[in-house]
């Protein structure tokens, strides 16, 4: 069972907010003693997902949670936007697929960098992505 120990939220409306989010995530990750490599992976994944949020949904909210499962602590980030949603999630999760002009690494890359990755999307309503990185994961 996953228990939420602490909560924080950052609203994203412009590109510079990405830096704010990265710093906030770093703060929490440091607080639970996450190592530098795992921190970097988590923050990079967050950076990818925030970019998608800004690009396709013009922003949204990111919830930062300190979670605990058994003896393991971790950081969970929940990206919530009210954008156009994703038509075909399986396609969007494929390496190299993009509807924009990017490399198509955002979603699949972010999934590789974290321990848990959940995505829910309803067309015309929005997308919610939840990622978790365990301290020693």
């Amino acid at each position: 069972m996953i228990v939420i120990l602490n909560k924080d939220a950052v609203s994203i409306t412009r590109e510079q907010d990405t830096i704010l989010l990265r710093n906030r995530v770093k703060e929490w990750a440091t607080k639970i003693g996450m190592g530098l490599v795992n921190q970097t992976k988590l923050i990079t994944a967050a950076s990818e997902l925030v970019r998608n949020m800004l690009k396709y949904a013009r922003g949204g909210v990111v919830n930062i949670e300190i979670v605990s499962k058994g003896r393991e602590n971790g950081v969970r980030l929940i990206f919530i936007d009210k954008g156009p949603g994703i038509h075909d999630i399986n396609l969007a999760m494929r390496d190299g697929y993009t509807t924009g002009r990017s490399l198509g690494l955002g979603l699949p890359g972010a999934r590789r960098l974290v321990n848990e990755f959940e995505i829910q999307s309803v067309v015309n309503e929005g997308t919610t992505i939840s990622i978790t990185k365990w301290k020693n994961g």
């Binding site: 590109e15 510079q16 990405t18 830096i19 990265r22 710093n23 530098l36 490599v37 921190q39 970097t40 992976k41 923050i43 990079t44 950076s47 990818e48 970019r51 390496d95 990017s102 490399l103 690494l105 955002g106 699949p108 890359g109 590789r112 960098l113």
Partner: protein, 133 residues
């Protein structure tokens, strides 16, 4: 608007990224660098990323763009000082930065740039020699 400073050192351009990058800033750096290569006829570009703690797919792509664009304009690009955690993350992300020359620190990066440029000059000399024969 924020800008990353570009220093001219002889035939080279030196960029030390000391701040957290966001997309607009990286894009501005890309266009500034290409303009400077043309303005100063630079032969090499050295980008120090030792203070950069995060490189994601967008910034990786910008680094690749800078390298390709300068190559087309006859300048070599060397990226130096990548942090180990950043290197690990980039490979797992699926972005191995193919085609970008890297060096461990600024000193070695400068050496690499110089060797690449003298190599080019020697090649040209060889060509001239064969022409006269």
């Amino acid at each position: 608007m924020d800008r990353i400073p570009i220093l001219k050192m002889g035939d080279f351009l030196l960029v030390t990224i000391q701040v957290d990058l966001y997309d607009q800033l990286a894009e501005t750096l890309e266009s500034d660098l290409v303009q400077m290569v043309r303005k100063y006829n630079s032969k090499g570009v050295l980008i120090d990323i030792s203070a950069v703690s995060i490189i994601d797919s967008f910034m990786g792509r910008i680094l690749g763009n800078i390298s390709t664009m300068s190559k087309i304009m006859d300048a070599e690009t060397v990226v130096v000082g990548m942090q180990p955690a950043v290197a690990i993350t980039l490979v797992e992300l699926g972005l191995p930065l193919k085609g970008i020359h890297c060096a461990l620190n600024v000193e070695r990066g400068m050496e690499l740039l110089r060797s690449k440029i003298t190599l080019d000059i020697q090649d040209d000399d060889d060509y001239d020699d064969s022409d006269t024969e």
